[in-house]
Symmetry: C2
Subunit: 426 residues, 2 copies
């Protein structure tokens, strides 16, 4: 057995506490798996006086994170403070002084992964996407001999919890959000989750790995779920669909560019993602040779995230003993991210219309003018309640948007009651 590897921990919140607890509880197993024991060298926090969920030698606490990550005896730095700064500077300082780094920081990786990777140290970040679900390692390594065509999944547990409640109980968005907050699934300020920022950061990381290209959060088309109404959910249900917030990364048909987007979409209730309940995550990966793969599990929470962090900790520790490092950033393909307008999707539209002859003809003509082909159309209600429910074939998002603009200008269309993309039944 080699001499101990010393681990510095940045942050001691829900995940950090769990990391310390597991490092201690599983010390013998970890040592056997690595070939050397791990030793906690220090824990950098902002408020040393705060009560923690785990007890450890208080002498390990420090507010000098920079000093800790550059300390000569430290081998590995685990960053679980999140956010851009000071996380970025600390990771770079750690790498500059030869440390290996494990991070769960999706925001940083999605905003400025290039800088972090350029730091040159061994870098693992499985916990940054989909918590405990092994997803980045399979993309970085298992599928390294295949061509990924599409990654499609539910990567935010909070929004899935809210949408699942709306679907199963008929609750409004606000009521479901309140319940999620009461249960600790949503934060007091839920913006990052419900507006899709969290999912967009994850989509950027997934797209970068899947397509060997550099993708940042700014490249991701993002729509949240705050405008989904109980009526949207109910009418999706009536048609055999369920609404999910999806992260979708896909190569264009010609393979020359990629689309990366996060938005609510209707998927058939028979689709495996439709069965993903509560705060679970699930991601489909479609590759040329492997076909369709699905990964499912807990996407957040202290213990699941700590499991991913510790898996990475074992990996960097093994690498360190073998004087090697894991796969470097792979961005050789340099595929461009195309604008949302070029993305091809299907669309479900409900229109409140005047109930008189010729309405369908006018609407259908408008769709045809924009080259959007209609798959099904259903007329519902009569008189003032007349509705047209239309599902299109695949068309570019630009053509679909132009069609919606046109519909808004038609006299016979009283209102566009809802517009929702449809995924998962091609």
């Amino acid at each position: 057995m080699s001499k101990p590897l010393k681990v510095a921990l940045l942050g001691c919140g829900v995940v950090g506490s769990q990391v310390i607890k597991l490092m201690e509880e599983q010390a013998d197993d970890l040592a056997a798996r690595i070939g050397a024991p791990l030793e906690l060298a220090g824990v950098a926090v902002r408020k040393p006086g705060r009560k923690r969920e785990v007890s450890f030698d208080p002498a390990l606490l420090t507010t000098d994170a920079e000093g800790l990550v550059t300390r000569d005896d430290v081998d590995i730095v685990i960053e679980v403070i999140g956010g851009i700064e000071p996380a970025r500077s600390l990771i770079l300082a750690a790498m500059a002084s030869g440390k290996s780094v494990v991070t769960a920081n999706k925001a940083l990786l999605a905003e400025d992964g290039a800088t972090i990777h350029a730091g040159g140290g061994d870098l693992y970040y499985e916990a940054s996407v989909a918590g405990a679900i092994p997803l980045l390692r399979p993309l970085r390594e298992s599928l390294a001999g295949d061509r990924v065509k599409r990654v499609l999944g539910i990567v935010n547990g909070t929004t899935n919890y809210i949408l699942d409640k709306m679907d199963s109980t008929g609750a409004s968005f606000n009521d479901a959000l309140e319940e999620a907050q009461a249960l600790g699934y949503a934060e007091a300020d839920p913006t990052a989750d419900v507006e899709g920022f969290d999912a967009a950061a994850k989509a950027a990381i997934l797209a970068g790995l899947a397509f060997h290209s550099r993708v940042t959060a700014a490249d991701v088309h993002r729509e949240g779920i705050t405008e989904i109404t109980a009526t949207d959910v109910a009418s999706a249900k009536a048609m055999g669909y369920v609404i999910k917030l999806l992260a979708i990364c896909a190569r264009s048909d010609d393979g020359r560019s990629i689309g990366v987007r996060v938005h609510p979409a209707m998927i058939p209730r028979t689709h495996p993602l439709a069965g993903v309940r509560e705060a679970y995550n699930a991601v489909f990966v479609e590759a040329e040779s492997a076909g369709q793969l699905m990964f499912y599990g807990k996407g957040a929470g202290g213990a699941p995230t700590a499991s991913a962090v510790l898996g990475d900790l074992v990996a960097v520790a093994r690498n360190r003993l073998a004087r090697t490092r894991g796969p470097e950033e792979s961005v050789y393909a340099s595929l461009a991210v195309h604008p949302m307008g070029e993305t091809v999707t299907r669309c479900h539209v409900s229109l409140d219309v005047a109930d008189k002859p010729g309405v369908l003809a006018q609407v259908a003509t408008l769709f045809a003018e924009h080259d959007v082909s209609i798959q099904t159309v259903r007329q519902e209600g009569h008189g003032d309640d007349a509705q047209l429910v239309i599902v299109t074939h695949r068309a570019t998002d630009a053509a679909l948007s132009a069609t919606m603009e046109g519909l808004r200008r038609l006299d016979i269309v009283r209102a566009i009651a809802s517009v929702m993309r449809v995924e998962g039944d091609d």
Copy 2:
């Protein structure tokens, strides 16, 4: 870019052909991901004159596999011939002369993995279990910082296809098997699949990785599906269950031993594994911190298996350039495999009984004598058709077996119509 890495291929059947095809089609991507181009150095086959599914320079063909794997210029050996010998000798010879090895050989790994690992070369074998589904790498690496409690899954596509057909069409085992054979899902001699040998080999490999212990196919309790009748399937269906062939590797409650078994079992139709149709595979992994994870995808076939082989090929190639190797065999925990009798399961039993007062009392007494607690009991039919359908609580397999023996000796029990373990609803 480094100089080419030379790859020797052993076997050129369905998987081997696909490997050659993909190595050529994706040559540029593979080179970029590895940092060096790959070059096919030779293909060892038994019958060089045979027609192949892929075209390549016939000068690469050789019948001298031993000569090929020890050739000085060869860096990496891919073994896709399967079976114990000559695969074992060839892998050992390759390792002895310093080659890295990628294999898809579950039978060999499950029978004599210790010898192969002792060969000392870099060894990857993702394709040996569940085809394209990244499962071994997540167990070996992603979950290296967690404690796996249970692995439970469908790891044989052929039997899942047969059972799925029986469930969806009411077909008999033989009719479903014939259909599977006609479609190429089952071989002319289906023994390895339908008797559970294939699944047992995979279970041994999974258990070894999950529990850091040495497990061989001989340690696995194995029951096939040949005795499952259309009636079994129908009555499971009537109760809201579906019958699947499961591979289950689980730590005992005290954590000191493991149980490894392959047998048909009833699972609730609401369980995610119940929705695994046709020849797909899916595996649940339950770990202390990560919670429940599921991996789903194509478990067999040329392209999916080749995807896994190529992922491993990229890994060993990267390792070779970095002068390192992947994780070594991890068997430090040395947990013993306990006999099936100590395994704790639930059980569903249908009894043909005499329709007279006191029958239930006698049967219930017998269960109680063996310490097997009954969860539900239902009486069906009358007169000569009277049946008792019993579902037990958890009990050891030994107690359940003794109970069945006792039932056979009871006068009032005309026959035990079916006995099936129940999984997935605890």
